[in-house]
Symmetry: C2
Subunit: 535 residues, 2 copies
């Protein structure tokens, strides 16, 4: 493929001081090397400037003869750290390696999405393009949820009408119980546990050409460590989204092209992944999911691959999975349920901008502490230090004031450093927590809409029955299935409420405690400076 | 004078939303009323726009017949709060009432500067113009010291050569002693005392047309309150600058045209005047000055006027006043003295930008606390409060988290208010203290230059003696007088050093204590919020 001409699909601003080449949408480029790793191409533009640009940002313009380079590359790297058939470490869509469109259909590279269900083909491919669109300039937009297409809607019809027979193995069954006040909740089906994410390590392969970060996950129930890369998380996330259309899946940390190997970034991503893992572990359904258990327990390469393929072939997903829900048989009050769902929908849509704003404030505060406030305190520190120095020249040998002023300067400088370090204890964890909630909240409307269309379907069928176009028995069965969807929604609402009561509560408390410690440290620093005046 | 044409000397930007008229240097204007008070004229420009502008910013263009309006105005207002012959409350030059130049010479208005010594006439008038030049756009520039003209230099010659016989009454004598290490210092000539500035009150006259602020001064030695206006301080300041060419006079708070009647401004100006008063009271020479004692003790209108005229007629000022200095008779080491003065000069010129910067940082911090930081904390507060409100809709009747989040929002809002209020306890007083030092430091070079030119004169005379053009006895006398100037300089250096050791020290300590209290209050507020989570 090398030597081929490509056209830039999107603008890409290369980072200065790196080998990156800025490209402009529509521009023609010539590829020199397409396998430099991490989803990057090397090439030159029409002015002759050469450099690296993301393969995903360009498209081949020539109907080139099909070469087998890509396949060869893929096979060549097989056997490395559990890459099997999907090796690209780029975070902008995980299968976006430079593959001319004509080739994509015939390629031996097995796209994981394409495996899951052939009818999703088009849609997945659409999503693929979507996730490629410059994530980088606005990295905080949660990934668009793609499971609520018309395909899902028609799947819902087949569930509601009972036209598709699905067998559910015992291990896949999900139970909903009603508490003392008749409120539905997910029934826990095992001991609760947690899983700690530790020691991100940079590893490389292909003689250093490719680098990636490996995180260690240790569940409390077996205390056995497994190693996972961000792309494994990403794969898992796709599986969970496909399987659970009635549960808003917590988002992963945002994808990022550059700066991924900086220590601060790696450590921050670890805490973000920990938030994701925590949310899943706390969820009564997700924490028992087979693919999740495979993800946090599998240490063997062969078993990993087998489990992975099995998960990708799983057909008990999306609306089909409603068949797995075991819940009370009693009918729900239709009107009460409609009012309740409407209220919840409004609550969620009201919460959405608030949480987004909260998250933005937290991120903004973190940044301001690290840059603006730090600089202000250093400016203050510098002005005291300078005054001390200037007075030194005429301090008549005593120098007491000079020393005290310098101590004051040092104190303010130290406070500047405290401001720089502080966000990782308060504003960043709060932002990470709210990143999860922001994702949950933005996914909830889709979950609610499944129930809404079921309610609409029931109304339609009501009419059909009154017009004698449908058997009452059929309506009763459909009504029962609508109640299953309703109960799943209420159970998830209940879970979300508990989450808030417990975990937002905890997050804000932790934040306040850290803030108290922080301002107390400032008090201590200033006290030190004050003491210098009395020495 | 009404109806006359005037030409704008300087640009003046009228404040929008007021009756002020913007004028441009060179523009022709027609005066409608010239006695609207506070040094303002009413008039219209060539486009027909009318409004108020400072009388001092314009000059009459016609050689008009001399009217007696101005005199009448002056007489009319006489008898008001101790205005006697100088009534303008404008802070931009106190005698700038609209007086056409042709009239100025003949006017019965007695300009205080013109009274002091006829030979200063030109110079004072030059200063008058200077102080009129838009102070307003850059109000923080200390007033230009005008006492070191060539006139003063020639006065210095007459002192050094002993050509002018000056009799010094006992009460005017100033004593310099040498301490145990032979260092010169001003000898205190009485009990030390202080004087408190309190209760600024707005008063008005001319049926409310003129308003002014009156401050109460109470010296500790008699506990009798006197009332003074800013213009009285300004008059006093001029007297002190004229009289003490060997002492850098602390600056007054900056002049200000608008906003003078706002409570925050008045209270702040009170603390600034207190700083000025404190500095004078602490100074062994200034605190014993007759004009100063008159200023802080006179409660009777007649005695005030008499004392005021006497001070204005005082001829024992400037270089003449060196005759009043009583100090040891021994000769100073010429070379040692030159090195010492050079070092001090460098020290002062090094300190100048540092103190200016320090002052700027303090003023900047005060502003940032009141505006930027306050807003940031209110933004944080708002985001917690909004989150609390949004969750309230679905809090399932428990509302515990909602209440705690609102309490957190309140705490951050309160912290925002703390930030707004705080500067008056820490950064503002520090800025006020450094405003005084900035003024002292910027006046010191002039004080040093008097000594420098005396040293130069001695060198010149040295040469004259070696060329037998001067009597050795004359050189000895000149040398002795140079030593008087040198000792006065050292005494002032010593005073300045003590000031720093004691009062900058105290100021920074007070600042740090207030900062500690402030951050402790933040800790307390956050602790309150945290407690709300455990209730």
């Amino acid at each position: 493929m090398e030597g081929h001409q490509v056209r830039a699909l999107y603008d890409f601003a290369g980072e200065s001081g790196t080998a990156e080449l800025s490209i402009t949408a529509g521009e023609l480029l010539t590829v020199i090397r397409d396998n430099v790793g991490d989803g990057w191409c090397e090439g030159f533009n029409q002015s002759g400037q050469s450099g690296l640009f993301p393969a995903a940002y360009v498209q081949v313009v020539e109907q080139a003869a099909i070469s087998s380079n890509t396949v060869a590359l893929s096979q060549q790297s097989s056997g490395d750290y559990w890459d099997d058939d999907w090796d690209d470490d780029s975070e902008v869509g995980q299968t976006q390696a430079y593959v001319p469109p004509t080739q994509q259909q015939q390629s031996q590279i097995i796209l994981p999405q394409q495996n899951s269900a052939s009818e999703y083909g088009d849609q997945v491919s659409m999503h693929t393009i979507h996730s490629v669109i410059p994530d980088r300039p606005i990295p905080n937009v949660p990934k668009k949820n793609n499971k609520f297409s018309t395909l899902i809607k028609s799947g819902e019809d087949s569930f509601l009408m009972g036209t598709r027979i699905v067998t559910v193995p015992e291990s896949e069954k999900i139970f909903i119980e009603e508490d003392e006040v008749g409120r539905c909740k997910w029934m826990p089906t095992g001991e609760s546990y947690s899983c700690v994410v530790t020691s991100p390590k940079k590893e490389s392969k292909l003689k250093g050409l490719k680098s990636f970060i490996v995180y260690q996950l240790t569940p409390t129930f077996n205390n056995i460590q497994v190693s996972r890369r961000y792309k494994h998380f990403d794969w898992l996330h796709e599986r969970l989204e496909e399987k659970y259309c009635f549960i808003p899946i917590p988002p992963l940390p945002d994808k990022q092209i550059s700066g991924r190997y900086e220590n601060a970034f790696i450590e921050h991503r670890r805490t973000q992944l920990q938030e994701f893992v925590d949310y899943v572990c706390r969820h009564p359904v997700l924490s028992r999911s087979r693919v999740w258990e495979h993800f946090i327990t599998c240490t063997d390469e062969k078993r990993w691959k087998a489990g992975k393929r099995q998960a990708e072939k799983d057909e008990l997903l999306g609306v089909n999975y409603f068949n797995a829900i075991q819940c009370p048989d009693t009918s729900l009050d239709i009107i009460k349920m409609e009012i309740q769902t409407d209220a919840f929908g409004k609550f969620i849509s009201g919460l959405d901008p608030i949480v987004k704003n909260f998250m933005a404030v937290a991120v903004d505060q973190a940044r301001k502490h690290q840059v603006l406030y730090k600089r202000e305190f250093q400016k203050i520190g510098q002005s005291f230090t300078s005054l001390g120095h200037a007075l030194e020249a005429d301090d008549n040998g005593r120098g007491k004031l000079t020393r005290a002023l310098k101590a004051t300067g040092d104190a303010y400088n130290d406070i500047g450093k405290l401001y720089e370090d502080q966000p990782k204890f308060d504003w960043e964890p709060l932002a990470d927590k709210f990143h999860i909630y922001r994702g949950i909240i933005s996914n909830f409307p889709d979950v609610i809409s499944i129930h809404k269309s079921a309610v609409q379907k029931r109304k339609d069928c009501d009419r059909l029955v009154s017009e004698h176009k449908m058997e009452p028995q059929q309506l009763r069965e459909l009504s029962h299935r609508t109640d299953v969807i309703a109960r799943a929604l209420i159970a998830e609402e209940t879970h979300f409420q508990t989450e808030r009561e417990v975990h937002i509560n905890k997050a804000v408390k932790t934040h306040l405690r850290e803030q108290i410690t922080f301002y107390q440290k400032i008090v201590d620093k200033l006290q030190e400076a004050l003491n210098a005046f009395d020495e």
